[in-house]
C-alpha cells in the first residue's frame, strides 16, 4: 500500500482496462497509477428494439452490465426509459458503440462519446493539476482517490512542472532549419539536424535525464516531432517522447473549418501519454493565452492539458456543460434531436437580431466616459436563468425557476472572473500575480464569450436558438435602459456597442462624476457595470468609402492615465505590415501626449514628423524586410478565385515551389513592383530588396496616418501633398476645423444645434 499526495498531470484510458493517472508526487516522483473505472452509456427508443439490443449485447464477449433505467433528457418533459450499458473496459467503449450504431441506427444514444477525463471529473471532481490524495496497492491500483482543491480557487497550489522547450533554429515553412535548440531552466543545447544519430542519442539522453512534464515546441505538431519520429524509425533508435513506455504517439489530422465567419486552419496534432505536448504555433489563440492561460483552461474545463491548449473555446465550454450534466444526472445526447420550434414571421423578425450596435457621432470628442456591462451576455444568462430547458425569462436579473444547466455551468466561472478582475484593481503594478491573473482572466473571457455563441449553434448538444435569442433580446433591453438613464441624467450618448456606451456631459471629467449614472444603470438593469475609463479624447471614424456614414467599430482615443485604446484601425489589424502598424502606433502615442485640447495642435505636428522620418527610412531601405511583411489569409481554395487576391497570388507562387497551402492559413508576403506584385515570404528564393514596391508601402502608411489625423481636420489628399512636397519641413496644418467644431460643441446647450445631435465631421 502507498499513500500519495500530489498533482494530477494526465489521465487516459488504460488499454488493459480502467484508466491511467499520472501524479506528480510531493516527493518529486512521477507516478503512474491505475484505477478501475467502468463507463456507462445509454440507448433509448422503442422497447421492442431495446430488447433486441439487449439480447445482442448479452452475446458480446465484452460482457457489458445491462440495466433498464429512467433518466432525464434535458429537452423532454418526462423521464426517459433507457437501457444502461456499463463496460469495465473504458478503452473498448468507442468500438462497441460504433458497432451498436451500425446495427441499431434507429435508436437514440446518450453519454456515448464523452472524453474519459470529463467522466472522471464528474465522478471524482478531478481536473488537470488538481491536488489529489491517492491510496494505491503494490501494483499501483488506486483504492481511494480524493481531490483536495477546486478549479475555482483563486490561488491554486502551483504544481512543480518540469518543462523542456524544443524549437528549430528557424521557421521550417520559410527555410530549412539546420539545428534543434533544446532549453530548460535557462540551459540551452544546440543539436545539429544533419548529424542524425548523435541528435537522436543526445535528445534521448536529455529526455531520460530531465524527464519533463511539458514538452513545449515550436512547429512540433506539423514539423519537428513528425521529423524526429521519422528519424528515430529510420535509425531504429528509441525516442522516449511518451512517458508511458507502453504507448505510441497519437496523431490527429490537419483540417480547415469555418467559425465565426472566418475560415480557420488547424495543422496536424501530436499528442503524448504521461507527458503533455504543447505546440505554441498550433495552440489556438496562443498569443492571447500563453501557458498560464492554457493551464487555466485545462483546470476549469477538465480537459487534458494538451487537449485544452489546442481546442477552441467552444469545445471548452461544451466540455464544462457535459460535466455539469453528468453531475446532475442529465443525459448528454450523442446527436441532438431537437429542431427549431415553429414561430410566426413577426416573432422571427423581432427575435432574429444580434446586439444593439449604434452609429457613433463621428469626429473628435473630449472628456468622454466609457461604461461597460461586465461580461454582459454571461451575466444575463446566469441572472435571468437562460438555459435551453428553462422558460423564456420575463425580466432582467432574477427567475422563478431552479437554475438551468447553462447558468449552473457559467455561475462559478463568472464569479471567478469577476473576483480576478476585482483583485487586479487592488494589486500593485509590480505584483507577479497581475500578469498571471490577466492570462487566466483572458482564458475565462473566451469561454464565456463562446458560451453565448454555443447556445445558438445548431449542433451544440445543449444549444437552443430561442435561448440564444433571449440573451440578445435582454442585452438590447439593458443597453437601451442604460441609454435612457444616461439621457435622463443629462448625458449625451455618443455611441453604443452591444455592451458598452460612450457618454459625455459638460462638467463631467473625473470618474466620480459618472458614479451616479453607474449606480442608476445597475438599479435599472440589475447587471454589473463598470466605468472602463474616462477618455481625454476619443475619435469615432466615418466610413472610408463615404465619409457621411459612421462605422460602429473604428475609433481611437486616450484615457486620462494616457493609455491608448484603438479599434479597427491599422495598428489593430492582423494583416497590417508591422512597419505600417508601428508608424501608426507611434503617431498615436505622440498624439496621446497632449494633456489638454490646446496641446493637441503641437502634437499633430510632432506626429507628422514621425511619419516623415519613417517615410525617409522606408525609401532609404533602412526598414528590415520582416517589418514589411503582410499576412493575408486564404479564404477559399485557390481554384475558387476569379481574380486572385495578393494572398492568392502568393499562394500560387508557393504552390509552384512545391509548398501547397490550405484555406485559413495566413500567407506572409511582400509587395513588389510589376507582375505578380507580390513575393511570398516562404519561397525558397530570397526576395530582391530592389524590387520592393515602396510607393505602395508609402501609400499604406499615408492611409494609416490619414486615419489618425482625419478627425483633426487633416485630409488624406492634403497629407499626401504636404508629406511629398517638403519631406522634413514644418508646415502649417489645416487643423482649425476641429477647433471650431469643438468650440461649437462645448458652447451649445441647444439640442438642435447640428453638432450636438449628429456632428458631421467638418473641414474635409
Amino acid at each position: 500500500m502507498a499513500d500519495l499526495t500530489g498533482w494530477l498531470l494526465d489521465l487516459y484510458e488504460d488499454e488493459r482496462g480502467g484508466v491511467v493517472l499520472w501524479l506528480i508526487g510531493d516527493d518529486g516522483g512521477r507516478y503512474r497509477l491505475r484505477q478501475d473505472f467502468p463507463v456507462t452509456f445509454y440507448a433509448a427508443g422503442e422497447s421492442a428494439r431495446l430488447n433486441v439490443l439487449w439480447a445482442w449485447l448479452r452475446r458480446q464477449p465484452l460482457k457489458p452490465r445491462l440495466a433498464k433505467d429512467q433518466r432525464r433528457d434535458l429537452f423532454q418533459p418526462d423521464l426517459l426509459t433507457v437501457l444502461g450499458i456499463e463496460l469495465q473496459h473504458a478503452a473498448r467503449q468507442p468500438q462497441l458503440f460504433h458497432e451498436i450504431t451500425q446495427r441499431f441506427p434507429d435508436l437514440d444514444y446518450y453519454d456515448a462519446d464523452l472524453a474519459i477525463s470529463l467522466r472522471h471529473a464528474a465522478r471524482y471532481g478531478t481536473f488537470p493539476l488538481a491536488r489529489c490524495y491517492a491510496r494505491a496497492d503494490e501494483g499501483g491500483l488506486i483504492q481511494e482517490l480524493r481531490v483536495l482543491d477546486s478549479p475555482w480557487d483563486l490561488d491554486p497550489s502551483k504544481a512543480p512542472l518540469r518543462a523542456l522547450a524544443l524549437r528549430p533554429d528557424c521557421d521550417p515553412a520559410h527555410a530549412d532549419p539546420r539545428a534543434l535548440i533544446a532549453s530548460h531552466d535557462g540551459h540551452e543545447y544546440r543539436f545539429s539536424l544533419e548529424d542524425e544519430r548523435p541528435l537522436l542519442v543526445n535528445l534521448c539522453a536529455l529526455l531520460t535525464r530531465l524527464d519533463p512534464d511539458l514538452l513545449l515546441t515550436y512547429n512540433g505538431d506539423t514539423w519537428l516531432l513528425p521529423r524526429l519520429l521519422d528519424l528515430a524509425q529510420k535509425h531504429n533508435l528509441p525516442l522516449p517522447l511518451n512517458r508511458d513506455p507502453g504507448r505510441g504517439v497519437m496523431h490527429k489530422k490537419e483540417g480547415s473549418y469555418f467559425s465565426y465567419g472566418q475560415i480557420i486552419y488547424r495543422g496536424q496534432q501530436i499528442l503524448l501519454y504521461g507527458r503533455c505536448h504543447i505546440d505554441c504555433r498550433n495552440a489556438m489563440m496562443w498569443q492571447d493565452y500563453d501557458l498560464e492561460g492554457a493551464l487555466e483552461t485545462a483546470r476549469i474545463t477538465a480537459l487534458p492539458i494538451q487537449t485544452a491548449a489546442r481546442v477552441s473555446p467552444g469545445t471548452g465550454i461544451s466540455s464544462m456543460q457535459i460535466t455539469t450534466a453528468l453531475r446532475n444526472d442529465i443525459l448528454v445526447p450523442w446527436r441532438k434531436q431537437q429542431a427549431e420550434q415553429p414561430k410566426t414571421a413577426a416573432d422571427l423578425i423581432r427575435f432574429d437580431q444580434g446586439g444593439l450596435v449604434y452609429q457613433p457621432v463621428t469626429g473628435l470628442h473630449f472628456d468622454v466616459g466609457m461604461i461597460d456591462f461586465i461580461s454582459m451576455y454571461p451575466s444575463i444568462m446566469v441572472r435571468s436563468n437562460i438555459s435551453p430547458e428553462t422558460p423564456f425569462p420575463d425580466r432582467l436579473g432574477s427567475s422563478d425557476y431552479p437554475p438551468g444547466l447553462v447558468p449552473l455551468t457559467l455561475g462559478p466561472l463568472l464569479e471567478k472572473r469577476v473576483a480576478l478582475k476585482q483583485r487586479a484593481l487592488s494589486l500593485p503594478g509590480w505584483d507577479p500575480r497581475r500578469r498571471m491573473d490577466k492570462a487566466r482572466s483572458e482564458a475565462h473571457k473566451w469561454l464565456l464569450v463562446t458560451c453565448f455563441g454555443y447556445l445558438g449553434y445548431k449542433n451544440a448538444r445543449f444549444g437552443r436558438i430561442e435561448a440564444h435569442e433571449a440573451v440578445t433580446t435582454w442585452g438590447r433591453e439593458a443597453l437601451l435602459r442604460a441609454k435612457e438613464v444616461a439621457e435622463e441624467l443629462g448625458f449625451n450618448v455618443l455611441h453604443m456597442y452591444v455592451d458598452g456606451l460612450w457618454v459625455k456631459k459638460d462638467g463631467c471629467r473625473q470618474p466620480q462624476d459618472f458614479q451616479p449614472l453607474l449606480e442608476e444603470v445597475v438599479a435599472r438593469t440589475s447587471l454589473p457595470v463598470a466605468l472602463d475609463g474616462v477618455y481625454r479624447w476619443v475619435a469615432f471614424l466615418p466610413s472610408r468609402v463615404d465619409e457621411r456614414l459612421p462605422v460602429p467599430n473604428h475609433y481611437f482615443g486616450v484615457f486620462q492615465d494616457s493609455s491608448v485604446k484603438a479599434r479597427g484601425i491599422d495598428l489593430r489589424r492582423r494583416d497590417s505590415a508591422p512597419f505600417v502598424a508601428d508608424t501608426q502606433r507611434e503617431m498615436l502615442r505622440c498624439l496621446a501626449r497632449a494633456e489638454t485640447p490646446d496641446a493637441l495642435h503641437g502634437q499633430v505636428s510632432a506626429a507628422l514628423d514621425i511619419l516623415r522620418g519613417h517615410l525617409r527610412d522606408l525609401h532609404a531601405g533602412r526598414v528590415p524586410l520582416e517589418s514589411l511583411l503582410v499576412g493575408k489569409k486564404l479564404s477559399k481554395e485557390l481554384a475558387g478565385y476569379r481574380v486572385p487576391s495578393p494572398g492568392a497570388r502568393a499562394a500560387l507562387q508557393l504552390l509552384a515551389a512545391g509548398k501547397p497551402t490550405r484555406p485559413g492559413q495566413r500567407i506572409r508576403l511582400l509587395f513588389t513592383r510589376g507582375d505578380p506584385g507580390v513575393h511570398a515570404w516562404n519561397l525558397p528564393s530570397a526576395p530582391d530588396p530592389a524590387t520592393l514596391d515602396f510607393d505602395y508601402y508609402e501609400d499604406l502608411m499615408l492611409r494609416a496616418a490619414a486615419t489618425l489625423l482625419q478627425p483633426f481636420g487633416v485630409a488624406e489628399e492634403d497629407l499626401r501633398v504636404h508629406v511629398r512636397d517638403d519631406l522634413g519641413e514644418q508646415l502649417e496644418l489645416p487643423v482649425h476645423a476641429w477647433k471650431r467644431q469643438r468650440q461649437r460643441t462645448e458652447s451649445s446647450p441647444n439640442l438642435f444645434k447640428k453638432d450636438a445631435v449628429c456632428a458631421p465631421a467638418e473641414g474635409r
Binding site: G261, A345, I349, Q353, Y358, R548, P550, N750, K753, K754
Partner: protein, 88 residues
Amino acid sequence: MGRTLPSITQEFMQEQEAFARFRRALRRADQLALDDLFASARQHLSAAAYAAHALPMETFLLSMLLEQHKEVMHLRCELDELRGEPHG
C-alpha cells in the same frame, strides 16, 4: 452568418438598389441629393433594426424625414441667431 433574416444593412442596400432605375433617370444634381437622403437614413440603421418593422422601407423613409426635420430646426436656430432673437 447563422442568421435566418438579412441584416438591416443588407435590407437597406436592397431597398436602395430597388431605386437604381429611378436614380439613373434623375438629373445629376438630383442624384446627389437622393444619395444624401439615403446616407441620412443610414444614421438610424440600428434604431431601424431594433424596431424590427415588417416593411423596413417605411422606417428608412421616416429616418430621412427625421434628418430633414433636424436640418430644418438647425437652420431655424441659425436664422434666429442671425436675427438676434433668443432661441429655446
